[in-house]
């Protein structure tokens, strides 16, 4: 009995304290669990082609969109198992959860729509037609709006949750992929993979107030293909993964200017920041690894293997 308790205790320590970084690996059908220094702990088997992830159930579980099994998987951290699935439309890509955690807004590539699902009953609640190949989804913290980007039509769809209707369209750069929202909700950032830029949208006027084009000395514009993005909780810094430019950019949110760029692996896209904001984790889709960046010094301190086609990163 005592051994069992000790064993359990050790297990709890191993899973809760050690396990800090979670990386979805598209071709492994798994979420990799790593220590915060990049040391591999284990793989958790998921549904097929896991991509975007989000915390749920107060950080006890991860929801992960699985493009090839038309599901969102629910992975329990403590047991290290996928414990539930939510059926979705064909080929779910990105998703966002409502602030109360009850609704999942999912971009469904096939059929070009954003579907809203009630998580408890696993039933679709409503859908909104989008342009072709919807990608990034963002639900505002006030629960009122959902933004969806359409890669092919270069549009951001603004959806009103109350009326379940599209409020408007915003034309952004080429091949818009992901979103980040400033903590005050005033600015919505959209990464344009083929525009080598981020469109910064004024959410009140629903218009693009600035297009931030990335340039790196000695690098061709065409190789700069921004995808993953995040804004720090203090609203001061945005991190943008520059894709095939193999760099991440640290951007000053107030002035919309790039502070510095940091070398990563190949096709950097998925980003995650640890709890105190001291470390940035960068998933590199072409070199199948994860770069750990020390934020204070602005240097990549380590790069570790991360399965086959690592996509998204979550941190504790």
């Amino acid at each position: 009995m005592r051994t069992l308790t000790t064993g359990l205790l050790l297990l709890v320590i191993a899973t809760c304290v050690g396990a800090d970084v979670f990386v979805s690996s598209e071709k492994d059908n798994a979420i990799m669990v790593l220590q915060n220094d990049g040391t591999f702990i284990k793989n958790i088997a998921t549904c097929k082609r896991p991509r975007h992830m989000a915390w749920t159930n107060s950080g006890k579980q991860i929801m992960v969109a699985c493009a090839d099994s038309d599901q969102i998987g629910v992975v329990d951290i403590a047991s290290g198992k996928q414990v539930d699935t939510l059926p979705t439309g064909e080929s779910p890509d990105m998703f966002a959860l409502s602030p109360d955690g009850k609704t999942a807004y999912v971009s469904i590539e096939e059929g070009s729509q954003m579907m809203a699902y009630d998580i408890a009953s696993k039933k679709p609640v409503f859908s909104v037609k989008t342009g072709l190949e919807p990608e990034g989804v963002l639900a505002t913290p006030d629960g009122k709006r959902v933004y969806v980007a359409s890669e092919v039509t270069n549009l951001v769809h603004v959806v009103d949750v109350a009326t379940r209707k599209q409020l408007g369209l915003i034309k952004v750069g080429k091949r818009p992929r992901r979103f980040a929202l400033t903590p005050d909700g005033g600015e919505l950032w959209v990464s344009n993979e083929l525009g080598s830029s981020v469109s910064i949208i004024n959410t009140a006027s629903r218009s693009v107030k600035k297009t931030l084009v990335f340039e790196i000395a000695g690098m061709r514009k065409n190789d700069i293909s921004p995808v993953g993005m995040l804004i720090t909780p203090d609203g001061k810094t945005a991190w943008v993964a520059l894709g095939r430019a193999n760099h991440v950019a640290e951007v000053d949110v107030a002035t919309h200017t790039v502070r510095k760029v940091i070398l990563t692996g190949k096709r950097s896209w998925g980003l995650g920041l640890n709890g105190d904001g001291s470390r940035l984790y960068v998933a590199n889709g072409l070199s199948d690894d994860l770069t750990i960046v020390d934020v204070a010094s602005g240097k990549a301190v380590k790069t570790v293997p991360a399965g086959r086609v690592p996509h998204s990163v979550l941190t504790n």
């Binding site: 190949e133 039509t153 091949r175 083929l194 514009k221 065409n222 293909s225």
Partner: protein, 397 residues
């Protein structure tokens, strides 16, 4: 906006009629016309069944429709109606074809025609006002981009030289430099040979031996018909086969004297599109195409899709532009286009060729993409494939 099907419009024949139209009417209504041959030997049942790699696998209309649907809502919101029509010509009278194009008020043409007929049409378009924007979606001949180039003419299919350069880069990057070259006996094979030899030179490959092959089981011709005898030369790295028909090339891999890879028209083949490429959104496009056509998307389908996509992208970005302005926007290379190949594509201002990456494919798989890593260019890496500005023979820019 009103359509002009009735009354006086019909009586006006010739391109001058277009000049008389109020501009606003034309800005809102656009006709894209895909022109093919009624009895095109490339689409005969037997030819399609043979399925030689790199050849078209069906008519290009479906792919064009998919591209149009992509931006349809955007264009409708901006007040544009874009329609797609299909015309299968008997290939005889250019004048009749022109009359038909005119009757259908086509402002954008997708030509799925042999090089000679495309050239003849472009001759006419050089002499009339308000000629359409013309996309070549089916011919890879470099002459169409070079000596016979035309300011109205855009090419979405890669030129032969781009395909040859892609292959030569691939070999150079691996240091597989010593090449046996096998050339077919058709007149087109000689043209292929000349272009591929320029790439061989550009990327520093060495020709260990060059031989003509014939398709024959005749023992008296065995020196030219037997793959083993043709490839027995010691000390080569690869066999490059240049075969405009494709039958000999298809059967060459694994039939060589030595265990050496085959490249060119068989074995590892350069293509504008291949459905097994799984990055940059490519699978989504291939999937959409397969759903509608029940066949894998081929290079020529991609070129057709890309042509419509180029036009609609330009119109989406400049909804108030005239036809001439849209042509200029594309032809100047300032419009970046999403070809689902990972980087933004654009037309080369010096010859109207769409710059693009090339897939190196064999059978069911893609080995990789050119430009290969390590190849350098001072301005645009995609211009390491095909005629770069200083090499271009195009004088009518």
């Amino acid at each position: 906006m009103a359509t002009h099907s009735s009354g006086w419009v019909r009586l006006l024949v010739g391109w001058a009629a277009l000049l008389l139209m109020p501009v606003s009417v034309w800005a809102a209504s656009w006709q894209i016309l895909v022109v093919g041959l009624r009895d095109d030997p490339r689409y005969e049942r037997k030819t399609l069944e043979q399925a030689f790699i790199g050849k078209p696998t069906g008519r290009p209309l479906v792919a064009a429709q998919i591209a149009l649907d992509e931006l349809k809502d955007n264009l409708q919101d901006a007040g544009h109606q874009v329609k797609l029509q299909d015309l299968q010509w008997d290939g005889k009278s250019t004048a009749e074809l022109l009359a038909e194009i005119n009757k259908r008020k086509a402002q954008v043409l997708l030509l799925d025609l042999p090089a000679e007929q495309q050239k003849a049409l472009m001759e006419v378009f050089g002499k009339i006002p308000n000629a359409p924007i013309v996309f070549n979606i089916s011919e890879s001949s470099d002459a169409l981009r070079g000596a016979f180039c035309h300011p109205q003419w855009l090419h979405t299919l890669p030129s032969e030289r781009m395909l040859a350069d892609a292959t030569a880069q691939w070999l150079a990057a691996r240091n597989w430099r010593d090449v046996i070259v096998l050339v077919g006996s058709q007149p087109q094979d000689q043209a292929l040979r000349d272009i591929w030899m320029a790439s061989v030179k550009r990327y520093g490959l060495k020709v260990k031996a060059e031989r003509k092959f014939v398709l024959s089981g005749d023992p008296r011709q065995r020196e030219a018909g037997n793959p083993k005898l043709l490839t027995a030369e010691p000390g080569h790295d690869v066999v490059m086969v240049l075969d405009s028909v494709g039958e000999f090339a298809k059967a060459l891999p694994y039939n060589t004297a030595l265990p050496r890879p085959v490249v060119g028209s068989g074995g590892l083949v350069p293509l504008a599109w291949h459905t097994s490429w799984d990055r940059y959104g490519a699978p989504q496009l291939s999937k959409r195409f397969h759903k509608l056509s029940n066949k894998p998307m081929a290079s020529q389908d991609w070129a057709s899709w890309m042509a419509v996509k180029s036009f609609t992208t330009a119109l989406d970005e400049e909804p108030k532009a005239t036809l001439a302005q849209l042509l200029q926007k594309l032809r100047s290379g300032t419009t970046s286009l999403d070809g689902f190949k990972g980087s933004a594509l654009s037309f080369r201002p010096w010859d109207g060729q769409l710059r693009q990456g090339i897939f190196m494919a064999y059978g069911q798989a893609v080995a990789g993409m050119a430009p290969v890593e390590g190849v350098l260019h001072p301005r645009e890496i995609l211009d390491t494939l095909g005629a770069d500005e200083p090499d271009s023979l195009c004088k009518r820019r």
